[in-house]
């Protein structure tokens, strides 16, 4: 992960790239293993971001009501 926090969109874009790269299987085993690891981390990150969004929206709705 970069030091600067990625936006969800940036993370998804990156994830797409990694998955496509792995699918094309043009890379070395080491590269592929690293890419898969990165992709899995990105999946975790994106899911976490979505969960946070849900929580925020839930809080906002509860507050407004």
């Amino acid at each position: 992960m970069d030091k600067k926090k990625k936006s969800y969109e940036e993370a998804m874009e990156e994830l797409e790239k990694f998955v496509t790269k792995v699918e094309e299987s043009e890379e070395s085993l080491k590269e592929m293993t690293e890419d898969i690891q990165k992709a899995v981390e990105l999946i975790k990150y994106c899911r976490e971001e979505l969960r946070k969004n849900e929580e925020n929206i839930h809080n906002i709705i509860t507050f407004v009501k």
Partner: protein
């Protein structure tokens, strides 16, 4: 000169006495005004009786009256019971007298009886005269046609701290159940007897002078008293001043049964000082209730409006929530799909199932044409790898 010898004073007095006794053999009824009255130690009552001119200023007749103590003992309670008070200065009375003449003291009127209803009638007469005069002069309705302030706050009081009802009034006004506060200023004046009229007029002048600030209303009040105590409130001078006063005057003089000319010319008149305090408080209470009512209506319509807005808003919220969830679902599916793709294209997953991967120079082989005999290759299995050498290449015929 023999004609100038004269007669003795005593003879003259005797002569006068005889003539007077002959002229007034029986008691007669006489109307007069009391100008002084004293009762001495032995219980006899001595009066100065006068007649005044039409303006009530110049003396036109004067005589001494005596009520012997044995008569006074019965007349006094009788008179008091009917009129509510004792004989006093300024009072008009109708008395039955025996004219008496003494050689030593001159004429005196021995009073045997008194007609209290005459005194009451005199007060009434005076009242009627004042009313007629005020009406004739067009003054009667002047104060009553002044517009009433909705909420009198700066209040000028004309009364006396020692007057009956003053304490009741102040107590009632200050300790009202609503906690309303009023700015009152007392302009003291005598509230009974002859000095009242002058005192009230002086107080009115002071209020009108502006040097004590501006006022919304003037309150003239005192509690109950005897009829002649209160007779001063029928005084023409006082009443004409009240009638012409530029501020509304509220009056409350005496008791339930009392009604005076000042009550008639005042803008508002109530029966008692306590009722007067209530009148002021009620004006505020009514306005207070009106405001409460308006506030309630406002709140109600706001609530209704809010309720309507709220249901609109709820609809929008539900819609937003729905859209958001839909979008979230889409995002989750997108991630899951990528995850799926990653899983299915991960060769290591294949190895776990018993397949193996072949690498040459760190490059995964997917065609036999990528190697030649003698090339070293690495075969990857789930639990490790095998270094091999290509011995023979068998290319499928149909595989291009």
């Amino acid at each position: 000169m023999s004609e100038k010898k004269g007669i003795s004073l005593l003879d003259l007095q005797k002569e006068l006495k005889n003539k007077i006794i002959q002229a007034f053999p029986r008691s007669i009824w006489v109307k007069a005004e009391v100008s002084s009255v004293t009762t001495n130690f032995s219980g006899h009552c001595y009066l100065d009786l006068v007649d005044k001119d039409a303006n009530g200023e110049k003396l036109e007749a004067k005589a001494r009256g005596i009520i012997w103590s044995r008569v006074w003992r019965t007349l006094r309670p009788y008179f008091h019971e009917t009129t509510g008070e004792d004989l006093k200065i300024g009072m008009k009375i109708l008395i039955k007298v025996q004219v008496n003449y003494s050689e030593l003291y001159g004429m005196s009127l021995i009073i045997n009886d008194i007609e209290p209803s005459f005194t009451i009638g005199e007060v009434e007469q005076n009242r009627l005269r004042t009313i007629k005069r005020l009406k004739d002069e067009g003054m009667f309705d002047m104060n009553t046609s002044i517009e009433l302030p909705a909420l009198p706050f700066k209040i000028a009081l004309i009364s006396s701290e020692t007057a009956a009802g003053y304490g009741d009034f102040i107590n009632h006004l200050d300790n009202n159940e609503y906690g309303f506060k009023f700015a009152t200023t007392l302009f003291p004046s005598p509230m009974q007897g002859d000095a009242t009229s002058e005192g009230v007029i002086r107080a009115l002048d002071a209020i009108n002078s502006g040097q004590y600030g501006e006022f919304d209303v003037v309150l003239l009040f005192r509690g109950g008293g005897s009829m002649t105590d209160l007779a001063c409130f029928d005084d023409y001078e006082m009443c004409t001043n009240i009638a012409q006063f530029p501020l509304p005057v509220f009056s409350a003089i005496g008791h339930e049964r009392d009604y005076h000319v000042c009550d008639m010319v005042a803008r508002v008149s109530v029966k008692t000082p306590t009722a007067l305090a209530d009148f002021i408080i009620d004006a505020y209470a009514q306005e207070d209730a009106r405001l409460d009512n308006l506030a309630n209506r406002l709140e109600m319509s706001l609530q209704n409006k809010f309720q309507r807005e709220r249901s609109e808003f709820d609809k929008i919220m539900i819609k937003l929530d729905h859209l958001f969830k839909e979008r979230m679902q889409k995002e989750y599916s997108r991630i899951s799909l990528l995850e799926q793709r990653l899983k299915s294209s991960n060769p290591l997953e294949l190895i776990k199932k018993g397949y193996s991967l072949v690498y040459s120079e760190n490059k995964k082989l997917d065609s036999v044409s990528q190697v030649e005999i003698g090339d070293p290759v690495k075969v990857l299995l789930s639990d490790g790898d095998i270094d091999c050498e290509v011995k023979r290449v068998n290319k499928k015929k149909n595989n291009g």
